[in-house]
Symmetry: D3
Subunit: 292 residues, 6 copies
């Protein structure tokens, strides 16, 4: 069960409204790598966790913190939108220079082109659970497989893509209030990248899992001869120059190998014949089926 304080985890107040930036900031609220994604991912990983209690607790600690991040971003976006209104549109139209240049389109109108129109029409100047192009968040962004190493690798990815996007958004504004909040989120993503990497280390040290995931699938059941090869499927061999093409494999179980000129190991594909009542196209023309 969950409880809520009325205080935000950190500041979320812009110096001034900026409805166009509000649209962009939606990316890290409701986008694929936004805060709703990590909140839901960690909560579901935690609720479904059958591993040791300390992992479950770690996951749910961070998952619960992420609800607060969602709250901060929603608050910030609502405040950035407070400068947009139908009245502003009229104001723009009364500036004669603007009117001349714009050929009848007011500045407010032009700005509305850059705004997400749903911020005005649908949410009435509130944040929405969507990304920067207005596409709604969906639960395919939530990853919880039951295998903690597979999932922690995803978590490291999510914090990496997320921090990358927040850094890009930092560069897209000069507003001190916005930058203050983003500097907090960037730092928390630093913390979370480190924590998930530490958790991966711990999982491996404690013998729960290792590369390749899942590591306890019986070895004799995989086709070991192709398990450490790089197939050069492009013309040229630039890809031969890397760590990935030779030397011991990262999992310590084999030797990396480069296939310069790979050959298919399978036969030509050729499908069989199916019932005429499926009405597909057969190898030769056939009559209409009879019977019931």
């Amino acid at each position: 069960m969950f409880l809520r304080t009325r205080y935000l985890q950190y500041n979320a107040k812009p110096d001034r409204p900026d409805p166009i930036y509000a649209r962009k900031l939606q990316e890290v609220l409701g986008g694929q790598w936004g805060e709703i994604s990590v909140m839901m991912t960690y909560l579901f990983q935690g609720w479904n966790c059958r591993g040791p209690a300390k992992y479950r607790d770690l996951i749910l600690d961070i998952g619960t913190e992420e609800i607060a991040h969602v709250e901060m971003l929603a608050t910030m976006i609502a405040r950035l939108l407070e400068g947009a209104s139908p009245a502003d549109q009229q104001a723009g139209a009364s500036n004669p220079l603007v009117a001349a240049v714009m050929g009848g389109t007011s500045m407010g109108e032009a700005m509305m082109g850059g705004m997400n129109p749903q911020h005005l029409i649908v949410s009435g100047l509130g944040a929405t659970p969507t990304d920067s192009v207005g596409y709604p968040w969906n639960a395919r962004y939530t990853i919880a497989s039951g295998n903690l190493l597979a999932d922690f690798r995803f978590n490291v990815t999510a914090e990496s893509q997320g921090r990358l996007q927040v850094c890009r958004l930092y560069e897209l504004t000069q507003d001190h209030g916005v930058r203050d909040m983003l500097s907090f989120l960037i730092a928390r993503d630093t913390a979370h990248q480190n924590q998930w990497l530490a958790a991966i280390e711990e999982l491996e040290v404690e013998g729960f899992e290792s590369t390749p995931v899942p590591s306890n699938f019986p070895k004799e059941r995989e086709l070991s001869e192709v398990a450490y090869q790089l197939w050069n499927c492009s013309e040229g061999d630039d890809s031969k120059a890397g760590r990935w093409a030779s030397g011991p494999s990262i999992d310590g179980q084999g030797e990396l190998e480069y296939l310069d000129n790979p050959r298919p190991m399978g036969p030509v594909a050729d499908l069989g014949v199916v019932d005429p009542r499926v009405y597909g196209t057969p190898k030769a023309p056939e009559a209409a089926p009879v019977g019931d």
Copy 2:
């Protein structure tokens, strides 16, 4: 530009048809972590790559190989479906024991319950670019950020989740032909997990990127005091026992710290007032707006 041989990369022939298993196998063809996802992800990462040629070539080598994996799975699924037809349904109904037990529902009917009905109605016993519940593949499964460390972490995740699912599917069938093909795919996922991990090593060794991603965001712009803390947002402190709660941070830039009883650092949220012509609910009742 791309060219195609008529040979499959490896065998893709089941011992016998199994339309219910065909539905399950769709998960690793058109699901979130299926072969279409890695094919499209690697191709877009490669086409958008502005880094050194050897990374670009590696990405496109593996991306081109994945097209062959999609081809093998599509072929296998089409063959698994060849046993399903309207005729089979009638056969089921004529088995009197089945009819008695089923109370009028034929075995074929019951099997159809387990089949994906679109395999019969929509694709005419062919594979579809959908997952095991029939949900269509979509491009939000494609990740290409332009930052190779962020993306290679995703690639490791994708190969981990993918191999995990193929292993689960291996356990769900006894068909030797299917298991033969899956043993090949499992081995290739072993190779790819190792290769992406090796590529991460190389990227870091060569000085392109490191933790936290992106690592060249100016340090003084993140709120460093919270950059290595774990906030215990759940009752209890099971999460204190892990590597993530103390010791040097994984990025070597700080010391991990545990906040037992974290306090909000922000104020109470309180939104401002907006134009009445947005027709939202204000802090106090107000009259209808006037003017145009």
Copy 3:
């Protein structure tokens, strides 16, 4: 079966084209609370209705009217778009002041930024069944549960959200032709809000259904001790001050009650162990599974 007259239900002619406004107006055509949503919702509620004929007829009357609303909006949007063309883009570029200010970007180009590009590329200046951010309408906006009170409550909501959005769109234009059509739609939404509220009254008076929906679920099967409590899950007790926190319940079956400091009524969650062949993370490390 349905028939069509060539006349529009009301006027749908703008004073002048405005392709940026056309994009916004799409919200009430193909958005979540737009006319396609109510058209499809009412038609499906009607076709699935097993209640008395007068309710079924009411639903289908309004559903059939809504097809005409979709027609009017589609016509209006096509007309608003008639001012946009590749030629207009060139015209903008030849205005030297614009060119100077825009640094090479023509006004037409800038306006295209505010347009929905699919109005030009995909529909050739016709309306599309999408909302104001270009997201396609989908059938999850259609609600038909078979329980008329549950559904009529939805209908009141749909007419409320819809009228709210049309009012906001009215404020976003000064075009008399557009406002003329919107004044008609706003009035029809007034009518429909009143009609669905009247239908709710009638359903309750006639004894079909009441609060809580569904009202004929056996009372002894719900955990009555928590059926009228408000759990204060936030710090502070602002929420204690309302009608919802004390006094007789609205359904007349209980007394509303405020839980200042609610306590969980359940145990700590703890999941069990699962088969190793699922390859999840167990409570303790385990060996690879054996057998087939």
Copy 4:
């Protein structure tokens, strides 16, 4: 900011596993009217709320409680799934009667037809944020318009549709543990229906809003002559017999009226001509465009 206790709000333990029922129960976890929908809806309504503090607090109290409902359902589903494993499938196959009847399809296989295959392949026997057909939750289920009456009407609907679905799910199982948890959820939905209805009463009493929503849109701007009419767009006049067809309107501002034989009030639609470079079909054939 949010905190979490380790205790569930109420019991969530089935008597025994039932993976087919687990799939159905997903509807009220990740479906359109499930607990994720009300959790996200109330949290966003609260975070975006610019109305009086007591409303904001009420919304966030209930929103925070809903996180606990999501947690209970996720836990219950994970436990219902513990009975499904690849091993069970083999067991089924070894029952000779089953094998005979099934013609080679094991019972486990047949049950898998009824299970959501992603529960085994994707989540490893954990709950997923999807509905009973496996369709992922998406944020278009979240409603927050900034107008509290519009939104509270939605909330009443959501609690009605949700309680209806939980009651149907109650009838679909005999498991006492599951029914125990559902009796709690049904009771909380009773409470919430009453609370949102009480909040609507309070909003109207305090003068914030009334029918038609939004009520402060200037009356003179709607086309009042059609604001209280029912247009009989179907053959027959069953719909004339209801409260909605005559008498004072519910908002007290007009008289309800029945239009037996409604006539269109608009002209025939006829679109204009557009630039040939859009390459649409004009009223008469035309030559290829020239120039750049």
Copy 5:
């Protein structure tokens, strides 16, 4: 504007309920090639039509007829579902042979596996605007480009795919009532295929449009040397044997040609350098950006 009669266009009554078949039949109601798709496609094509009145009228005639097809299918599905209820599930469980064979799973349960669970939980035994896997209809199935030849080609396709699916569904049932309705729909699809093909003929005869669509794009602006070639991008030359590889082109403007061994006509791709503040991976490691 539209009006509705109470009569169905044709019979829609099954001999007996069949909830599993109801799920399959959904494909041609709410699937990609179902009746909602053609209804919406034709209505939008008609409303957006700027061509001669006879084409517009044809499109809207057929579009209006399709509403009646949606109505018939919705009615049929609701009737097919009338045999499914929680009570039926209990009945199944009391058959001891079934119970023995099923190992505790009742027949009703097994049937539920084949049903769409939302038919019971969400729609209360009514039709839903979804396909046979429960995926909701969406507006990307609606095609209206403004170019009538492009669109009529789509319409021919839609009627072909649709008739194909209805024929497959005919084979999947023995119910006379269902087959009666399907024989009507199959015949109407015959009519519509013929009508759209006739309309294509008329468009070409009247000089509105021809192959290649759009035919009035200036010829000198396409790279004519590759306009009639088949590039053999696969090993082998089976594709050389067809009408498509030589002889006069279908549009009468060129000669079809076969490129046995096609060579790329472009250079090696090589992207440029971007601003370091985008935080992507450059060609060589670089320092953190400075400045604001």
Copy 6:
């Protein structure tokens, strides 16, 4: 299996960057009728093909070529985006005339309104598998039914809609490099329209399939009396004037006929009664259900 050369199929280099045009160009990369759609459609049609080898090879030749088109468009878009950066935004702001006119919004900011924000935040100035409104590509754009005539009709449509969109995009730019690449794509679409039309001819000549698709469904099973009628469901009879309303049918099997005043052939719809435990609304009020 597939292989890749490092050369592009044709040139893909713009004269200069244009991030707003990049967003529009996405339509033919990741839109419904873009290159990803035809690539995936043809590959799946080929892999699922059970018809003669020459058809299968043709489909896979063109499908393999389309991968190269996707590559060219992705490369072009990445290059068009190279002109956008956070730095450009600041440059705009320092132009005093712009600043005056824009009232504080920099030109860069305004341009960002026209850009797809995800090109900056998500992909770091790379192409994305989405359309011009940022909506992700999804697999419902892939059509492969197993019936080659149904599918080739779709292919003709796809090449028609696709060429139409590329022609519109040609008109929206003056950049010679972009126009050079588009002139190649337009010519290839000319080739493909001709090839699919030729393939349709060949299929019919060889006796595989004809109108109506599927042509081998037994004639006596369709309701032949309505198989060639046009039902005039709109007021007026403009639609009577076309080739579709009289004369021999296109399939040569009947005579086209016009129904001026069509009458429903079915009865009034009236649904039955369902189990009270579904909690729907019945024809008359009923008591709560009893029993378990």
